[in-house]
């Protein structure tokens, strides 16, 4: 969990928090600066606006006051005129001509002084012009509203009236009529003066003021009636009484200015006004605000442009700051990450190294797994870690070690493979599986127990090892999602490898121990100093079993020292061994080997020692091995003897044959000569000597032949006690009186299978040998005993002849069974006695052996096979087994009556119909009278010209459905095989055979 690890309490805020705070600050500052810039600009703009507006209002106000004053002068001059007329017209009922003329002059003078006046007239009640500024009176009246004048006159109104402008005369120019009535003394209106003021006189001033186009000048009565307007005259005569100027402003101040709300044309205007109370006139000037604000507007673009520029600059600065800060922060973060990662890796490596070291020495695998689970949790900084092992059945896993699990959740879980758990899925997929969020995991269902414990993410690594190793899965879990990095995954996998190699090593170590302990050799590994580093079980048990000089010592002892001590005690082999070890270690020789005896004469054992070089971490060591070869040497000795005997047998057989031929010639010719010469002559006696010598030679060859085991034996069940007693009885009298012959037999000894006559001869030979070994008297003991066969298929009975005579030295004893080997002086014995005994024993399926020690006596033993009770055909044995029953007709061909009769009884007992014949010819004859034949049981060697094989081929030809079994008493198979009629496909029973062998053969053949 290197990269996303949360900071420990007390440390600075994490980089992202710091970064966002910085960013916020920069943004806030930038925003404030921008606001400031915008605000400042706005204020400037507003001030400009206000200043311009106020200036405009002030200007308009000043202007209007000026304009109003000119207007006032105009109307003041009208008042002056009216005042000067009062002297003539007030309290006058009629005007005389002079008055008229005077008034006329007055008016003309007035008009000439004030060109603004279109006309000036005085009317009487009849509305007749009585005086005018013009000479032509008719021109004066065109603009007058007669009724208005009349109303004025009749209304007796003496005030000045400024009338609504009217178009005057042919020019159509607008004029404002100003009327004043005059009363006579009775108070009656008699005359009225009317001044027609040219509106152009009023507007002309305005035009001259050069306020600029767009400004409007208005002259109105205080009741809202428009008297003049510049530039347009559209609304002249109309009323603006409902306008704010009239409804609000003129009533509050006589002079003022204001900004009017948007007009119908959408224009906002700055209006300045001045009220002339005396004339009840309002002069107003309206200036188009847009026009006023035109320079402001021009400035505004500049202001806004610079504001935008400034804001942009601030934004850019902020952006650069944030960006560079971000970069710095990113660099800082990646450096921090790298530092964390390095720290995390160092921790992982340390944990891994610790576990690895422990794995090399861990004896207890559970302890190792527990440590591995702890290492998993610490190394990945996770919440729980577990190690599960595949149950032998294969589809399930069981947690065998865990760390970080709460106490209540520590029961053993069994995880089923496949998609039922994270572990199981990993094992099923044969790949590491990282789940960043169990909540959204689709590939498998996390184990409910983990979900209960709040696990959110995990890593599971399968372990797949060869049989016998650790198969299962490792897993780490976190209560945070996405808590595991690639480093964590690799760490878990590395722990997996460590566990796998630990188990592999254990298996190898167990295997090595098993292999080394199963080796029968005693093995020890020595270091370069000769200290014993390792011994195998054979070494230990040998050391325990015996207090041997060599090998001895256990791990830690110095073997070279042991050898040195033994050598000092005079053990020659120890000296050789020590030298051999040193030679091997120094590299002088590749291997040292030696056979040596060990123990006393009572129990002499032989060992085969080897010393081989061993490389121990660069030092030269040695592997010392001692193998007990006592039995091998014994076997080798026996084999050597057997081979020698066999070779001797072959040799003697050949010699005997040739020698008999020679004797035949010698003795035969001697006899024939003797017949011719006569026995009583000197030559006859010489020939007799020759014949006697030939006779002795013939006896020798007989002996040789019996050694070479070429006798025809008739083995049968024999009671050994009886044979021993017979032999003793027979020889008792021939023994000297100083020799005691004893028969020591147990109450029961098992029957043996042997040729009784030959056994008898052999025993006699042995007893006579014993007698000869007792020149000064002694005891000869005949014994028989059952030998323990140790579960072997054939059991033996041992017959022995023991004397307490001179004995033989080992060299002589070793060769005692060889022909012509004798201790007797020349002429006293043939040296064939023991060799005949040996030949007999071997041919009977047994062995002959001899123990002898000089001065202590000799014991000769013949081990013969036990008779199983039913094997001997021609014997009394053979208990009927009623289970084996057959049906059919059988022809038994056997020349020996005894055997044939026995076979007949045996076969009839098995339910067969038996016919007999004593030869092949006899058999063919009786076959003619037999309608059916199921089986032929025939001897191979029979009197007559036809052997069993010849008979068999006849039967095959004539009776193809019949089964055939042949039997033979000849132990030498080549005898049978050399017959030219021999057919190996015909089953052959070797005599003697047991009833069960016969039954088995019958079953085979009859079932075919």
């Amino acid at each position: 969990m290197a990269d996303t690890v949360t900071e420990a309490p007390g440390s600075d805020s994490s980089p992202p928090v710091r970064e966002s705070r910085f960013r916020r600050r920069v943004l806030i500052v930038s925003f404030l600066v921008a606001i400031l810039v915008v605000g400042e600009t706005a204020i400037d703009v507003y001030r400009d606006h206000m200043r311009l507006t106020e200036d405009a209002e002030r200007d308009v106000e000043n202007l209007v006051v000026n304009l109003a004053s000119t207007h006032k002068q105009v109307f003041d001059s009208i008042d002056l005129l009216f005042l000067s007329l009062e002297d003539h017209l007030n309290e006058t009922d009629t005007l005389d001509a002079g008055a008229r003329a005077h008034i006329g002059r007055l008016l003309r003078g007035f008009r000439s002084r004030f060109p603004e006046f279109q006309s000036v007239v005085v009317l009487n009640r009849d509305e007749t012009v009585v005086a005018s500024g013009h000479r032509d009176l008719s021109k004066e009246s065109g603009f007058l509203d007669q009724r208005r004048v009349k109303a004025l006159i009749e209304g007796n109104d003496l005030g000045k009236h400024i009338e609504t402008p009217v178009a005057a005369g042919a020019s159509g120019n607008l004029v404002i009529p100003v009327v004043r009535a005059f009363r006579n003394r009775s108070g009656q209106v008699v005359y009225a003066a009317v001044v027609a003021l040219k509106t152009s006189a009023l507007t002309g001033t305005h035009s001259a003021l050069e306020i600029g186009s767009g400004s409007v000048m208005l002259l109105a009565r205080t009741d809202g009636t428009v008297l003049a307007r510049s530039p347009s005259t559209d609304i002249v005569g109309g009323s603006l009484a409902d306008r704010p100027l009239f409804t609000e402003h003129i009533s509050s101040a006589s002079t003022g200015s204001y900004t009017s709300p948007p007009q119908s044309d959408g224009e906002i205007r700055i209006v300045g006004y001045h009220v002339s109370p005396r004339h009840e006139l309002v002069t107003a000037i309206a200036v188009d605000r847009d026009r006023i604000l035109a320079p402001w507007r021009e400035n505004l673009v500049g202001h806004i442009g610079s504001a935008i520029l400034l804001v942009l600059l601030v934004a850019a600065a902020a952006w650069f700051m944030i960006r560079s800060h971000d970069r710095e922060a990113a660099l800082r973060r990646s450096a921090e990450r790298a530092r964390n990662r390095a720290r995390d890796r160092a921790v992982k490596q340390q944990i891994m190294a610790g576990l690895s070291q422990y794995s090399a020495e861990a004896e207890d695998s559970q302890d190792f797994l527990d440590r591995a689970a702890r290492a998993l949790r610490k190394g990945t900084d996770c919440d729980f870690a577990s190690i599960a092992r595949q149950v032998s059945s294969g589809s399930q896993m069981m947690i065998v070690a865990r760390d970080g699990w709460p106490e209540h959740a520590r029961e053993e879980y069994v995880f089923v493979g496949g998609t039922d758990s994270h572990l199981g899925f990993a094992l099923h997929s044969r790949d590491t599986i990282i789940s960043h969020d169990y909540g959204t995991e689709k590939r498998f269902r996390p184990h409910h127990r983990l979900v209960e414990l709040g696990a959110r993410s995990g890593v599971a690594v399968p372990m797949l090892t060869a049989s016998g190793g650790f198969s299962g899965a490792l897993s780490v879990y976190s209560t945070n999602p996405a808590a595991f990095s690639d480093d964590d995954r690799m760490f878990v996998e590395a722990i997996g490898h460590l566990i796998a190699s630990y188990y592999e090593r254990r298996i190898q170590s167990n295997l090595r121990s098993a292999v080394l302990d199963s080796v029968p050799s005693m093995l020890a590994v020595l270091d370069h100093r000769g200290d014993i580093l390792f011994v195998n079980r054979s070494w230990i048990s040998e050391g325990d079993a015996r207090d041997l000089q060599m090998p001895e010592g256990g791990v830690g002892a110095n073997y070279i020292d042991i050898c040195t001590r033994a050598a000092a005690e005079g053990v020659v082999e120890a000296q050789q061994m020590q030298e051999g070890i040193l030679d091997v270690m120094s590299g002088q020789t590749d291997r040292f080997q030696m056979e040596y005896p060990c123990g006393d004469e009572k129990e002499m054992r032989w060992f085969f020692a080897t010393v081989s070089p061993v490389n121990l971490d660069g030092h030269s060591g040695a592997l010392v091995s001692h193998l007990d070869i006592t039995s091998r040497r014994e076997l080798e000795k026996q084999l050597r003897e057997a081979s020698r005997m066999e070779a001797l047998g072959q040799l003697t057989g050949g010699i005997a044959h040739d020698f008999n031929n020679l004797l035949m010639v010698v003795a035969g010719n001697a006899e024939m000569l003797s017949d011719r010469i006569g026995p009583e002559t000197r030559e006859g006696r010489m020939l007799a000597a020759i014949r006697e010598a030939a006779g002795r030679g013939a006896a020798l060859t007989d002996g040789l032949l019996s050694f070479s085991r070429r006798q025809l034996l008739s083995p049968q069940a024999v009671e050994p006690q009886k044979v021993l007693q017979d032999a003793a009885r027979l020889l008792e009298r021939t023994l000297r009186e100083d020799i005691e012959l004893r028969v020591e037999t147990p109450d029961s000894c098992r029957q043996i299978l042997a040729d009784e006559a030959q056994l008898h001869t052999a025993l006699m030979n042995l007893i006579l040998n014993a007698r000869d070994a007792l020149p000064n008297g002694g005891t000869i003991i005949l014994r028989c005993e059952d030998l323990d066969n140790g579960g072997a298929p054939v059991a033996f009975v041992r017959l022995s002849v023991t004397d307490d005579g001179e004995g033989m030295p080992p060299a002589v004893a070793d060769k005692a069974f060889e022909p012509f080997s004798t201790t007797k002086p020349v002429g006293q014995g043939t040296g064939l006695g023991l060799s005949m005994v040996h030949g007999f024993a071997i041919q009977s399926g047994g062995t002959a052996s001899l123990e002898s020690k000089p001065g202590q006596g000799t014991r000769v033993m013949i081990d013969l096979p036990v008779a199983t009770g039913s094997e001997a055909v021609g014997n009394n044995g053979g208990a009927a087994d009623l289970d084996d029953q057959f049906e059919g007709t059988i022809l038994v061909v056997e020349d020996e009556d005894r055997v044939r009769n026995y076979l007949r009884l045996l076969l009839e007992d098995m339910g067969l119909t038996v016919h007999e014949a004593s030869s092949a010819a006899d058999a063919l004859e009786s076959l003619a009278g037999l309608p059916e034949l199921d089986l032929l049981l025939s001897d191979v060697i029979m009197p007559g010209s036809m052997s069993g094989y010849g008979l068999a081929s006849e039967i095959r030809r004539n009776r193809p459905g019949s089964g055939i079994i042949l039997m033979s008493g000849y132990t030498d198979p080549s005898m049978i095989e050399r017959l030219h009629e021999h057919d190996p496909s015909i089953p052959l029973l070797r005599k003697p055979f047991s009833r069960s062998q016969l039954v088995a053969m019958l079953k085979t053949v009859l079932s075919d």
Partner: protein, 129 residues
């Protein structure tokens, strides 16, 4: 004159026995192996065969069987000095295969002569019956 066929691989034995039988008044033919013996038998009528049992080319036992097959009534005397099997065993086999008598080497020539005489006399007696 009765004709006797002597079969033996040893010329010395053949010579000795021929000498004895000549002396006893028999016509003697010799063969050194079974094959020669069969040729000799086919060449002239023979009254008796004396054969050794160990011979290089054809074992004596087989010779006996061959002779018995070709000349069922011809008496055979088997002689043997032993060898691979001891003499007695071989002679036993020979007897079973039809040898009228057996002799174990070495034997005095007179015994053979006597034996032949007895067998031929029996044969004659048998024939006369």
């Amino acid at each position: 004159m009765k004709r006797i066929l002597l079969v033996d691989d040893d010329p010395l034995v053949l010579g000795t026995l021929r000498e004895a039988l000549d002396g006893a008044g028999y016509a003697v033919a010799t063969a050194e192996n079974g094959k020669q013996a069969m040729q000799e038998l086919s060449r002239a009528r023979t009254d008796l065969v004396v054969t050794d049992l160990i011979m290089p080319t054809q074992e004596g036992v087989e010779t006996i069987m061959a002779v018995r097959k070709a000349y069922p009534t011809l008496p055979i005397i088997a002689i043997s000095g032993g060898g691979r099997l001891d003499a007695l065993s071989l002679l036993d086999v020979a007897r079973k295969f039809g040898a009228a008598a057996t002799l174990k080497k070495p034997f005095p020539p007179s015994v053979l002569v006597t034996l032949i005489g007895r067998i031929l006399a029996e044969r004659r007696g048998g024939e006369s019956c």
